[in-house]
Symmetry: C2
């Protein structure tokens, strides 16, 4: 029960784009470096974000990816679901008829409650708020990283 | 981001065992039918539950699987983690040094909060409480199932 790598990269990309001035475009290679994601893999992630209308893809020399202005207030949930599809914590929650036991299964309510709690947190966190965290707090502390690597 | 089938089957098995009188043993074939899980696959699930000390495996003609009495109060979280390992919603939450950006990444707090919410729900639901749901509420409504199949 873990977030896919694709969804993790998608959220990184979205936070980066939301921290830029409106209309700013970033090319694929730069996004790949920022998200620390292999370019080929990021292409699929960007395709999903574009299809969901969260980012706009511009071609040509001045091309790149731009945050769709209307979606500056997108939540982490929207980004995750653009990549993974709707969050369904267990197969029995995928549809009304996914499990024959759903009218009496004692576990279904627990899965539904857990899914609800998860969705509430992810739905309440907007990409733009995350991008607005103080820049100093978002800079990697190089000494700290080196220390972590040595330890 | 979905529960593994193994963890789902493990919870079904545990709820069934918790609904039986103390000391009752159920063989593998019966558990396989109850959990609606292929026997081979259930073997691995039962191995995990046995290793975690949640069930006791008895060999021989009168053998079978029995709920470890001390673990009658186990939570859904304990059962899921016995099969899947500790719940870590994103790779960055697996250890102190899993991600170099953890001191400044704006998304990490969201993943941690979502994981916390999930763990709280699953940890608060005990297998014995689920097993004690009124028997009538737990009986499959056969007519309903048939209708669902026809639709």
């Amino acid at each position: 029960m873990q977030l896919t790598r694709a969804a993790d990269y998608a959220v990184r990309v979205m936070i980066h784009l939301a921290g830029l001035p409106p209309g700013a475009r970033v090319n694929r290679s730069e996004l790949s470096a920022i998200a620390e994601c292999p370019t080929q893999f990021l292409c699929k992630v960007l395709q999903n974000l574009t299809r969901a209308g969260l980012v706009i893809s511009h071609r040509g020399n001045t091309g790149g990816f731009e945050l769709e202005e209307m979606h500056r207030t997108a939540s982490v949930l929207e980004v995750v679901e653009a990549v993974e599809g709707p969050i369904r914590l267990n197969v029995c929650l995928t549809s009304e008829h996914a499990c024959a036991g759903q009218s009496w299964c004692p576990a279904r309510g627990v899965w539904a409650a857990a899914q609800g709690a998860l969705v509430e947190v992810l739905g309440g966190a907007t990409i733009s708020c995350l991008a607005q965290q103080p820049a100093t707090a978002r800079q990697p502390v190089i000494v700290g990283i080196d220390e972590a690597r040595r330890s």
